[in-house]
Symmetry: C2
Subunit: 340 residues, 2 copies
């Protein structure tokens, strides 16, 4: 297995990417290709006291860097020699099995769609992060790739999300819910009402374990294993969860820092709090898979640390091993039949 890594994108590039790759290389049985400015990559390694490339780690030179603010649509034209575009082309050409980048989400999605291409029959690729929940994790699909969706997109997301949850979370028959503003079948806009009917039919036919509408409240509380949403609402869900987690962490911090007694209390529950933070933490979860692209492409968080980027690479390796892309492609007739 060979994982291609965008060494230049993200807030902490190239340090976090290179260090993350070095961490990952120790944990997985895969070669890693670091794509980016060779000198910069080597410099990071030298700072770590590494003077020769570790076994299984290679560098592929790319001179440009895709800026976080650049327009997503022009990335192929304006940045042909960027680490992102070069890396994706290597993946498309079969020089590696998966690609990991912490770069601009829109640019990555566009460039991946144009170079690596979507799975035949899939209308739109979607972002599918795994969110923390009481049941151990829930796949959200989509969370921002497609602000405007139709019933066909949402139906495809439901199937792709279900296959992904089976592989990534190890759930035999993942419970799929449609994000809605109430649990009754008549809730939501026309988009949700129609999608509900389609998914219910697929559920009745045994193609999907559709459990109905799910409210946002039910997501962290583990009511479903997959939550299907248009990119706009999914983004609101994802970022609300992030926001409240930050808010409550801040509150906890000030509670424990108040005085000597509370500081002692902090020591007494330290491991528990640490575990909770770990559950809520992006750095552990890894990255977000672009489901629907023909090969595994993982978007790591823009502000990824060494460890977070390492987790994203590990996720890429899992995606290759699990064969999720092949799984979606192999079930495309079922997926297409559902919306007809």
């Amino acid at each position: 297995m060979k994982i291609i890594v965008d060494a230049m994108s993200g807030d902490n590039a190239p340090q976090a990417m290179v260090n993350g790759a070095l961490l990952a290389a120790k944990e997985i049985d895969a070669d890693i290709i670091l794509v980016g400015r060779g000198e910069d990559i080597l410099q990071v390694m030298q700072q770590q006291g590494i003077t020769t490339l570790p076994k299984g780690v290679a560098i592929s030179n790319a001179t440009q860097v895709v800026d976080m603010c650049d327009s997503a649509t022009s990335v192929l034209k304006e940045y042909p020699d960027s680490s992102m575009v070069r890396g994706l082309k290597l993946l498309a050409e079969g020089e590696g099995d998966a690609f990991v980048s912490a770069g601009n989400t829109g640019a990555l999605l566009t460039a991946a769609t144009l170079t690596v291409k979507r799975i035949k029959g899939i209308r739109r690729a979607a972002l599918a992060p795994v969110l923390p929940s009481t049941s151990g994790g829930v796949v959200l699909i989509d969370c921002g790739a497609n602000a405007e969706c139709n019933t066909e997109y949402l139906t495809q997301f439901a199937f792709m999300g279900s296959y992904f949850a089976k592989k990534e979370l190890g759930i035999e028959s993942p419970r799929v819910g449609l994000l809605n503003n109430g649990t009754e079948p008549t809730k939501g806009t026309e988009l949700q009402k129609q999608t509900y009917e389609i998914l219910k039919k697929a559920g009745d036919e045994g193609k999907l374990n559709f459990v109905g509408n799910v409210e946002a409240r039910g997501v962290p509380n583990g009511e479903v294993d997959v939550v299907v949403a248009d990119g706009f609402a999914g983004n609101v869900l994802l970022k609300s969860i992030e926001g409240v987690a930050i808010f409550m962490s801040g509150e906890l911090k000030s509670i424990f820092k108040k005085n000597l007694i509370t500081k002692i209390a902090a020591l007494m529950v330290g491991s528990g709090i640490k575990n909770m933070k770990k559950k809520m933490d992006y750095n552990e979860i890894g990255g977000t898979m672009l489901l629907g692209i023909s090969k595994p492409v993982i978007k790591a968080h823009g502000s990824s640390s060494d460890y977070a980027f390492r987790s994203a690479i590990l996720q890429a390796a899992r995606a290759v091993k699990s064969g999720i892309c092949e799984d979606i492609a192999g079930n495309i007739d079922d997926i297409k039949a559902a919306v007809q």
Copy 2:
């Protein structure tokens, strides 16, 4: 001032409503009319050892109760003698100054629109809860009344929310943000893009303190004082916040209950944790105002406790005193001009 109270709706009716009203009566200088089954109301009072109606508290008889599951649109026709419909009619007829109910949101909204009516020129009433945030609170408008919205609705929500935040949160020039999946003006669906332009113009003209798009993450972190959303996305935001708060509270509980040492730690930070929970708690915040209705109508949480319902009644009293409805009506020309 006279507050009309729906004594029969909500999960804990009539106990929570009657007890909540008795609590509120001690705190505010207002008369209270309890609408519902007289016997049931008196029975609750007797359980509290109260044998005669306290001064300023009256009962108005209504025999029916609106079930949580009934269709919202048929409430006036099917439940003409319900506590909800009777109470709203009293408000419409000027027998009181505000109405508080923990009943079915859809039914309340429909019945309020048909009896008390919207403020002239306002297209849709919206649900405007105050959410917890680091800055002390943020008004969310809408959070579920209108799943499908157009630019005019959202623009009106922005103005109403701004006036409301000024009164309810005491902020001179509330920062109004449009909920979006990114902060750039080009983000979102057509609805958000067009609304952004309208609100920006209103901001440039000094009619509104529009600070641009806001991501869901920025809401609990106090980036704005008012967040404008269609009812679908607003509902996702509201319920995500609820869901994560429940999730993290559960995690904390199990951390502190683990063993003797953690239990001691819990005692050491007890007051801090209690304060944090208070901040996140619906029971403190009160209810959700139906902004756009010509007189104050407050929706209390369906599962309101005595104390939560008391808070909703206090909020109703504040709404009457602040003159928020008159304020919206008085500024209707500005509101209408913004979308033209």
